[in-house]
Amino acid sequence: MNLATKRFSPAQILSLLILIAGAAVVLVPLLWTFFTSLKTPAEVFKDNFFPAKWLWSNYSDAVQAIPFFNFLLNTLTILVPVLIGTVFSSALCAYGFARFRFKGKKTLFLVLLATMMLPSQVTMIPMFIMFKEAGWVDTFLPLIVPAFFGGGAFNIFLIRQFIRGIPRDLDESAFVDGANRMQIFIRIILPLSMPPLIAVSIFTFMGVWNDFQGPLIYLNSNEKYTLALGLSMFKGLYKVEWNMLMAATILVMLPALIVFFAVQKYFIEGISISSAVKG
């Protein structure tokens, strides 16, 4: 694999061909969905891959058939507070674990690691009963409030590892200058911890956007559905045409794909970091 030679070796050509075939396997289903979303209902059942005429009106119809903007608003109503809660509380706890000495810290940290292995199914049922008794079922609260309590063990862990790499001299000199620990956290630690905070934000966005089981359990009335939940119900509730269903599917994919392409560098780095840290 010499960079200087422009010509490919036979092994490289074979590798490239395999890669291209793989890329086609990834892309064809997406393209088929996209092109079908632009067809007329009758055309859906014909053999042509491309639509004869690009029927963009399928999208405006789909947006009305499922109350898309209503579902979008619901999703954002959950997303924004969860994002704020997760980032702040996980950074706060990570700072506590990274920079302070207190009794039982080692044990607590081990407990934190252990909770990552706990399957959510074990706590799902009691949490539902708890929230039901509190009268929170069919509100967004069960999906939002837990984010403010630590923001997830894995996120704490990720940020803590990063903070440990920030030189302590920075804290110490600010301390000498009379800053208290909260000020040190906000003015020094947070601005320096942007890489893990961005990774945590992206994972949180994806988590909320993709979450299906949570909304399915807690949200009962149609007008409270998130996009993910609304899309799945679209299949059962209405007698729908394929082209509209495809258009709605594309619309739900789109924001996730846009975020992905906008921040793909952090995304791929974040996954590499997280596996390196965990493994």
Binding site: C93, F100, F102, I129, F260
Partner: protein
């Protein structure tokens, strides 16, 4: 900075997590354990919880659907975990080539992993449609009459496994970063010693990325036991319970039948199974996982 009040500030900073631990983890776990030995009624709620001893577990071990869901989950995990690992590793090695355009390929391969599982499921329901889906149309082009996929009990689980290959981007990226951590000198030295491609793969690459394989293996097993959205949206366990994943059965018991006690018992069985498998993989890991610079690990 290590004055006596530092201790209290430490607790103060981790207080959100401590509260969350009690409220959303330890508390619910204890409650769930109680529920596993109780009967719970949706209408009267918490007030009428009734201790029934081992009844839930006894009923579970005579429940045919419980065994069916275990079978589905194990078959899925046993086939899909190794299959996805092999595909991911091959893809990662190809993507690790130093030629132009690799960045674009990486983006394409990773893309499916960011698409919401519900949207992926809806898309594949249409792809798998026996008459109009693109899969059977493509098969027809080469003269193969495709099966009814999701509507056929002997193909439905296989269809979900095939679909999963489409979304292995996450695993590919993790392997890719593992591969990039292998020191180049090792390959150069081996090449000088006359080691061929396959020899280099089995003697260098595989041992060096064994921690990554180990990590992906555990995640894959746990993932199989938590598989839910696709099965719920695409087949809802059918046809003939051929895709009744454990987690789906648990959900049905808890939130369709409202048998919270029974479902809690199911969730503890799930917990124990995952724990046993994870410990098995960890225990056996010393036999095949190689950690570089093991001594200075803290």
């Amino acid at each position: 900075m290590r004055k006596s009040n530092s201790e209290w500030s430490g607790y103060l900073f981790i207080l959100p997590w401590l509260l969350g631990l009690v409220l959303f983890t330890v508390g619910p776990m204890l409650f769930s354990l109680l529920l596993a030995f109780s009967r719970w009624d949706i209408i009267t709620g918490v007030k009428s919880i009734e201790w029934v001893g081992l009844d839930n577990f006894k009923a579970i071990f005579q429940d045919e659907l419980f065994y069916q869901s275990l079978k589905v989950t194990f078959v899925f995990a046993l086939i899909s975990v190794p299959l996805y690992q092999i595909f991911s590793l091959i893809a990662a090695m190809l993507l690790n080539m130093r030629t132009r355009g690799m960045k674009l390929f990486r983006l394409i391969y990773f893309m499916p992993s960011v698409i919401p599982a519900v949207a992926v499921s809806m898309m594949w329901v249409m792809i798998f449609n026996p008459e109009y889906g693109v899969l059977n149309r493509a098969l027809a082009l080469v003269g193969i009459q495709g099966p009814a996929w999701l509507q056929d009990p002997s193909y439905a689980l296989g269809a979900l496994i095939v679909m999963g290959i489409w979304g292995i981007g996450n695993t590919i990226i993790i392997y890719l970063s593992g591969l990039q951590g292998v020191p180049e000198e090792l390959y150069e030295a081996a090449e000088l010693d006359g080691a061929g491609r396959f020899r280099r793969f089995f003697s260098i690459t595989l041992p060096m990325i064994s921690p990554t394989i180990f990590f992906n293996l555990i995640m894959g097993i746990i993932g199989g036991f938590q598989y839910f959205t696709q099965a719920f949206v695409m087949t809802n366990g059918g046809p003939l319970n051929s895709t009744l994943f454990y987690n789906l059965y648990l959900y049905n018991k808890a939130f369709q039948d409202y048998e919270m006690g029974y479902a809690s018992a199911l969730s503890w069985i799930l917990f124990v199974i995952i724990l046993v498998f994870t410990l098995l993989v960890i225990r056996s890991s010393s036999m095949w996982v190689y950690y570089q610079g093991d001594d200075d690990k803290d």
